[in-house]
């Protein structure tokens, strides 16, 4: 129960931050990504501001086995750079640039994003449903 409460609080602050920072404004996001055009560097401040508290907490968590509510801290994944990491990130970036929404802001803006926001979220969910099949196909091709 307490875990769910803290999950709700974290989700709420995350959503508030996405709204305040401008991450749910697709015009701004596209301007932030427009490095080859009239680039707006705000995204660097959003990412920088977000990385700061997390870097402190990662530092705090090293050497400790458990979180405050008792769950194990996530271990470091193996630093393996597979083709899926690169292909997936490129596909994601193409979609993000095309419309200006990434997963967090797409969910956070669902109450004020209109029909377009709902269609985007449903399409994203559909993409997540077919992703395991796509992964299998890519792995088959990569194995040849």
């Amino acid at each position: 129960m307490v875990r769910n409460l803290f999950a709700f609080i974290a989700g709420g602050i995350f959503g508030a931050g996405l709204l305040v920072s401008g991450m749910t404004n697709t015009e701004k996001v596209q301007g932030w990504l427009d490095v080859f055009g009239d680039w707006d560097p705000t995204l660097a401040f959003v990412l920088g501001g977000a990385i700061l508290p997390m870097a402190i907490v990662w530092h705090f968590s090293t050497g400790r086995a458990r979180s405050i509510l008792g769950a194990d801290f996530p271990g470091r994944p193996a630093p393996r750079l597979g083709h899926n990491l690169v292909i997936g990130s490129v596909l994601f970036g193409m979609g993000w640039g095309l419309v200006g929404l990434c997963p967090g802001p797409a969910i956070a803006s669902i109450t004020y994003g209109g029909l377009g926001g709902i269609v985007f979220l449903l399409s994203m969910v559909a993409g997540m449903l077919v992703a395991p099949g796509v992964r299998t196909r890519i792995d088959q091709v990569a194995a040849i």
Binding site: G12, A16, S21, D40, P53, G95, I107, A108, S123
Partner: protein
Amino acid sequence: MIETDWIWGFVGGLMIGGAAAIYLLFNGRIMGASGIIGGLVDRSGLDTGWERGSFLAGLVLVPGAMALMFFPGISTNITGNMAAIVAAGLLVGIGTRLANGCTSGHGVCGISRFSLRGMVATVFYLLAGGISVVLFKHLLGVV
């Protein structure tokens, strides 16, 4: 850029990072939006379903209430091109699941612990995002 944009960007960024810090410190979890919803969509994370659901409830309700109270008439300024929206949604859904993370997981949580995977993913999706804006907005003009 409007002069106060970067201040709001930084303040919002601190809140995003603060939320990720709470999720890690208290729940021992990495705050990645695509992973949290993706685990519910493909049912791989149903054992932590309530935690994921609670996170998503906060993520929807808090900005929704803020929009209602403080930002009347707020809009995401999303394109009206529905074909582009469907294509982008599919790309984001497939891409983030293939890469195992998005802006929050790889970008915020990954870079802050100097994760090689997070940094490589972020370089590629930022690069692809930049090319996508040039291609679809400036060259093709579809959005």
